[in-house]
């Protein structure tokens, strides 16, 4: 019972990341009709926003270490600590949550620039060329990051206060031994909030209404005198922000390195296809579903019956879904069924 609860949480956690990336991917596909292979790179850029801000906040100066009196010892002390004392230390400790605020405008800007500068010219081109050019862009972005930050993962710790584990066992009446890291619980909550706000934005605002109408029938909306293209640019920006936020929050769970985007990209494409191309609800549902499936497959009991299943379960599900039900779990009839 304990194991099952933990695996469900693990799966929801992983699924949260998949769902956030897949949500942006399918949003872009549904509105702009573009297959964006650079979306994983946006996730990676988000994670590196957190890394950069942490580095900026911890810019240090060498000062004399007073605690050692035998000889002249020096230690690094961040400027923030020197200027603001304990407040500065707290700011450094909370660098990841602070990054969220800063990452939003940065990612929005990156998204809009990317759409106006490159993606715009590829609306009319075949899917294969869209895949190729965004694949090239993804390589360029990750190589730039690599040349700045190096090839090694960079640990980006979460704030001290949530670094420990939550006694969830007591909550569910399963005993004190069942614990789960606080930050992962926060991630899950955060993913839920972001997904909810994207849906609320599309459902309850005029802007969102136009976007949904545009997804259904772009031409008619254009004929009504609405500038669809500008709205779609903003949608691309939003998708970039969602991917970026997923990245920022994921940084404490998985120390970011330059190819984390590519690793997640393949999986999130599978998630999008399983959920149904262009279906937002499908992407979210498939993200959580596949996350849970994967974490159950990596239980030792399952692995002893079907060795290696944890490595392939997601792809296996994808293959079956594409072959049996090409429009995915919740895809609209007639959209990309071929």
């Amino acid at each position: 019972m304990d194991a099952i609860l933990l695996q469900i949480l693990n799966g929801l956690d992983k699924g949260g990341a998949y769902a956030l990336i897949a949500l942006g991917l399918t949003l872009v596909f549904g509105t702009l009709g573009v297959v964006n292979f650079a979306h994983g790179a946006l996730f990676m850029l988000g994670a590196f926003c957190a890394v950069t801000i942490q580095k900026v906040l911890t810019l240090s100066v060498k000062v004399k270490d007073e605690s050692i009196t035998f000889f002249e010892a020096f230690k690094e002390q961040p400027y923030l600590e020197i200027w603001f004392g304990d407040v500065g230390t707290a700011i450094i400790d909370w660098s990841v949550p602070i990054s969220i605020l800063i990452a939003i405008p940065i990612m929005l800007l990156i998204g809009v620039v990317m759409e106006r500068g490159l993606i715009k010219h590829f609306y009319k081109r075949p899917h294969a060329e869209q895949i190729l050019v965004t694949f090239g862009l993804a390589i360029v972005l990750q190589e730039i990051i690599k040349s700045f930050f190096g090839a090694n993962p960079i640990p980006t710790p979460a704030p001290e206060i949530v670094a420990g584990s939550a006694p969830i066992g007591a909550l569910f009446g399963l005993g004190e031994a069942v614990v789960y890291p606080w930050w992962r619980l926060i991630y899950l909550l955060f993913a839920g909030i972001v997904i909810f706000s994207v849906f609320a934005f599309l459902q309850f605002t005029t802007f969102g209404m136009v976007v949904r109408a545009g997804m259904h029938d772009r031409e008619t909306v254009g004929l009504l005198g609405i500038n669809v293209e500008r709205r779609f640019t903003i949608v691309f920006g939003i998708a970039a922000v969602v991917a970026g936020l997923a990245g920022v929050m994921y940084a404490p769970i998985l120390p970011p390195d330059y190819h984390m985007g590519m690793d997640f990209l393949v999986l999130s494409f599978v998630v999008v296809v399983v959920g149904g191309m262009g279906s937002l609800g499908g992407a979210v549902a498939a993200g959580f579903l596949l996350g849970i499936l994967q974490s159950f497959a990596s239980m030792n009991e399952v692995k002893s019956i079907l060795p290696g299943i944890d490595q392939i379960i997601i792809y296996l599900v994808a293959v079956v879904i594409i072959l049996v039900r090409p429009r995915g779990l919740m895809g609209r009839k007639g959209v990309m069924e071929d």
Binding site: L132, K146, P307, I322, M336
Partner: protein, 380 residues
């Protein structure tokens, strides 16, 4: 369809060019066997990929599986049977073919992006399995290697005594290292090119092209397109298997990273860069990428300072700092930028560039011919 006389000329030129490659490539610093082998092996891989992607338009993102399967099979053939390379090549191709039949049969039920995702999914499954549960067959992260204790049944029967040290791959006694290794790959490349030429010119190739331009219409005219697609897929998989086994022959080691999807992406890059659907395009792409990979990754800041020494000092430092990002470790950045430029401005690859330039020159010369004629008539 009889072979056009023209084709024999093409083949003759190609054969001559391939066999003399060590001579005419040495002035640009590419005339040594290691690099030439790479050209030939990846050339075979790209030619094969082009038969699928170039002719039918089906973009496979999992072609590296067949490369990996070819390599593993070849190494197993060295371990179990004999160090002779011929069985290794044959088994490598057959095994890749078997995999291609299986993967192709399932993947070709869908087209477009679904086909790409399906092939990608199969590739990732194979890669993950090769790393984890299939370790007894693939030797996991270390990679499959030869050992002294391998049985090598046929060799043992022929020689009777166990040789000391690790044996090297041979072709009936000729060691496959240095130039003999290259020439073996070169012959394979020539045969591969010949077959691809025949396919391009055959009714079969024509049908594949028809599938690319309009599959629905093709079906309405009464063709069942799937057997043709599957055949093309298997042929292209066997090319990849051949390339993989050649890799194992020149260096008897097989690792799972050969199957990773970025490896599949590489062959896509090469084919697109050279020109999809053209005969020589993929080879050009391979040549360009592998050559510059070799040159660029070897460059470092010192070499750059020498190259830009004529510039004033302050400018030299700036130029070197910028260029330094693109060479050495940053070679992939150059590749990415180059690739994006090609897709954006020249979707037909280098071949389209050549065609445009030659068209432009021809247009100029025609204008030049017409201009005096026009003057003459105007003068009357």
């Amino acid at each position: 369809m009889p072979l056009l006389k023209n084709d024999w000329v093409v083949m003759a030129i190609f054969t001559a060019a391939t066999l003399t490659a060590p001579l005419w490539l040495s002035p640009i610093g590419a005339g040594y066997p290691d690099l030439l082998q790479k050209f030939a092996i990846f050339g075979i891989f790209a030619i094969g990929f082009n038969i699928l992607f170039g002719l039918t338009g089906y973009l496979s993102f999992g072609h590296a599986v067949f490369l990996g399967v070819g390599s593993y099979t070849a190494v197993w053939s060295f371990k179990l049977l004999t160090m002779n390379v011929l069985p290794a090549v044959i088994f490598g191709m057959l095994m890749a073919g078997v995999f291609a039949v299986f993967i192709g049969y399932l993947s070709l039920r869908r087209s477009g992006i679904y086909f790409s995702i399906l092939t990608l999914a199969f590739a990732q499954m194979s890669y993950n399995l090769a790393y984890s549960v299939l370790t007894p067959i693939t030797n996991g992260e270390t990679g499959l290697q030869l050992t002294i204790n391998d049985p090598r049944i046929l060799d043992a029967a022929a020689e009777g005594v166990a040789a000391t040290g690790l044996p090297s791959t041979t072709l009936f006694g000729i060691e496959m290292s240095g130039y003999s290794g290259f020439y073996f790959c070169a012959v394979a490349l020539i045969i591969g090119f010949f077959i691809s030429l025949r396919i391009f010119r055959s009714p079969f190739g024509l049908k594949l092209k028809a599938i690319k331009s309009n599959q629905t219409r093709m079906k309405y005219t009464g063709f069942n397109t799937r057997p043709y697609l599957l055949t093309a897929f298997v042929i292209s998989g066997m090319y990849a298997g051949l390339a993989g086994s050649l890799m194992a022959i020149t260096d008897p080691l097989a690792g799972a990273e050969r199957m990773q999807w970025t490896a599949s992406g590489e062959v896509v890059l090469m084919t697109i860069l050279g020109g999809t659907g053209t005969l020589v395009g993929p080879l050009l792409g391979v040549g360009i990428i592998k050559y510059f990979e070799n040159i660029f990754s070897a460059l470092n800041d010192n070499a750059l300072h020498q190259a830009f020494a004529i510039l004033p000092d302050w400018l030299e430092n700036i130029v070197v700092a910028i260029a330094g990002e693109f060479v050495g470790e940053g070679w992939h950045l150059t590749l990415g930028v180059l690739f994006m430029l090609i897709v954006i401005f020249l979707p037909g690859g280098v071949m389209e560039g050549i065609r445009r330039i030659s068209g432009w020159i021809r247009g100029r010369s025609r204008q030049a011919e017409q201009a005096p004629a026009a003057e003459a008539t105007g003068g009357e």
